[in-house]
Symmetry: C2
Subunit: 366 residues, 2 copies
């Protein structure tokens, strides 16, 4: 019984755990080379603080408990972005903008969903605080793509979305009653033409707007006779042009799922292999202590999803028989060997998953 883990929680074992750690290190290194420095917020915060930092953000399905010290409700973070936003807004509030921060940490949810059966996973990402411009989004998307590539992923593709598209149209050229905006977004997200027609027939073209990047942009340009989307579409095209041909791109302008707090731009990242996205990002608004709002752009990746696709590294392990002088082992490690020192006479290279054995001179392959 004590061998079982609660549903949604998993051990990572060798060599998967090593591979996951390597993926994480490569992702963070890609961000570091672009000037992103690590922030490492605690796993636990006041629940209220976690909930109130991002505009339109909430605290869904977090594990909570009462702190015996403060008598207040604490929560385990279900997401790291809000914490990094808090750091940027408070302890690094005096730092000139933009601030570039990276992070890697465990996040936890009280309940799993059908689409995401894990209740604990590693979130790795980078946030560019202070800007949500096309230049900022271009940098963030580029860093995300380089990070995936550095992690060994292939077949990288990006699905862009425009999270505030319906709000923008509804407030402008295609008015919708305020109480109908939510239901309309929901029907569009579900690609439910009948539902959309019943609420606001003007929006019907958006049901079919998703697809390969160039043609989707073209359809949106035709819809946007009043030009309220022009800056967004220009921005998307500039980002796509900067990325070049190496990355497949699609646009699903009304996709909202998972982009609850993003503003003008959102994107999902895919790689060859896993059926689900391996990361996402976009622009958002964070809220300072004094109520002031600040723009930001960022992305998050999910290490486990990427590791599954990364090329397997060969395990090279060198067996050192009992009695091998310590200095010899040290010299071999200095040459980059992973050594496994036999501590008992009956230990064997096979038992220790060794590929090589050393008996003096040059390591011999088994």
């Amino acid at each position: 019984m004590t061998a079982l883990l609660p549903e949604g929680f998993h051990d990572r074992l060798p060599p998967f755990a090593d591979a996951a750690a390597a993926v994480e290190a490569r992702v963070l290194e890609a961000a570091r080379l672009h000037g992103y420095e690590r922030a490492d917020p605690p796993l636990i915060e006041f629940a209220q603080a976690l909930a109130s930092r991002l505009k339109a953000g909430g605290l869904h399905d977090a594990v909570r408990f009462v702190d015996p010290v403060s008598q207040r409700t604490l929560a385990l973070r279900p997401d790291l972005t809000a914490q990094v936003a808090r750091i940027a807004a408070t302890r690094m509030g005096h730092h000139p903008r933009p601030v570039r921060l990276s992070y890697a940490g465990t996040v936890v949810k009280l309940r799993a969903s059908q689409l995401a059966p894990a209740r604990e996973w590693r979130q790795i990402g980078a946030e560019l605080i202070g800007l949500d411009s096309v230049a900022a989004a271009t940098e963030i998307v580029r860093v995300a793509v380089e990070a995936l590539s550095a992690a060994g992923a292939t077949g990288i593709s990006i699905d862009f979305t425009l999270p505030d598209l319906v709000d923008t149209l509804a407030a402008g050229p295609l008015p919708v009653a305020a109480e109908q905006v939510g239901p309309l977004r929901e029907r569009l997200d579900a690609k439910d033409a009948g539902g959309v027609a019943a609420i606001a027939p003007d929006y019907l073209p958006l049901v079919e707007a998703a697809g390969p990047f160039a043609s989707a942009i073209e359809r949106l340009r035709r819809l946007d006779v009043h030009g309220v989307l022009a800056s967004r579409l220009d921005g998307l095209e500039a980002i796509a042009a900067a990325l070049g041909d190496g990355v497949a791109m699609t646009l699903d302008p009304t996709e909202r799922h998972g982009f609850e707090y993003q503003s003008w731009l959102g994107f999902s990242l895919f790689v060859a292999g896993p059926p689900r996205e391996v990361g996402r990002g976009g622009t958002y608004t964070l809220i300072h202590e004094d109520g002031r709002e600040e723009k930001a752009t960022g992305f998050s990746l999910y290490a486990d999803a990427i590791v599954a696709t990364a090329p397997k590294a060969e395990r090279r392990r060198l067996f050192l028989p009992v009695g091998t002088p310590h200095a010899d082992g040290a010299a071999l490690r200095g040459q980059g060997w992973v050594t496994v020192q036999a501590l008992e006479a009956d230990d064997t290279p096979q038992a220790q998953l060794c590929t090589h054995v050393w008996t003096g001179g040059v390591p011999q392959r088994l």
Copy 2:
């Protein structure tokens, strides 16, 4: 208000967080070179499972909550060793012994103590499952010392202890009533000569037994007229001889604090700088599903304590003015530069904490 963190929880900011991550990577790399592979258990388990894996281990001051899925009590790990022991005993139970595993993860306590005011910290370590021999302990102590050294620590010293010393003497040549063994250990731990004399005067020499390694061993040899400690003292001397003169060693044979589940050997690690220990380890016994017991040896380090002492790396950041071609930045990153691309015309190298600026050709130091 939302800027505050609960007592005992802390943000790690740049450049400290980067330094902590680097220390962690170096420690794990030192273990990897000795054949230790990563295990990464989840942050949360069934409380009962966490409590029952180590002999004489418990689950003190863990954060607990009721799982809405299983309706059972879950706990956040206050320690990683018991989890790694569980993995070795269950999912890796079929693997030939010894099994070498390393780990790095966040651990959480519900309450802080006066000596350890943090409620969340990173525990990094390595466990050698299947052996608690002198050879095993020598390897573990060596890996710990190499890991600290790789992390940049200097002035490394080790304080050894013999956690089951009193039990061994009390069960043999210096009998003590069963109900008095606990109080006696406590008085010895407190170095309270009067208290020890009141319970068992034979143990008085142990009050003064702590000190530099060679003289402490010598005092214990004199006390051990019946030879029940001989194998332990021989083992300690063999470990000390293997470590050589580079590491300062002391022996505090009755120190028990923090060694609640260790068996014949325990040790605390110190480095120049922090007043408190930066790690500890020793031999212990883990319990399999069928009740079978297995010996093991391991160590854990606390990254934050080490980072404070590590030499500061210089921050080298290269400012790329607005309009720098992406390919130029990529080439500079390829040469190892950390680049910070200006995204707006009024951004400056100073604002971005850059040490160098690039305007074509060779990066110029500011």
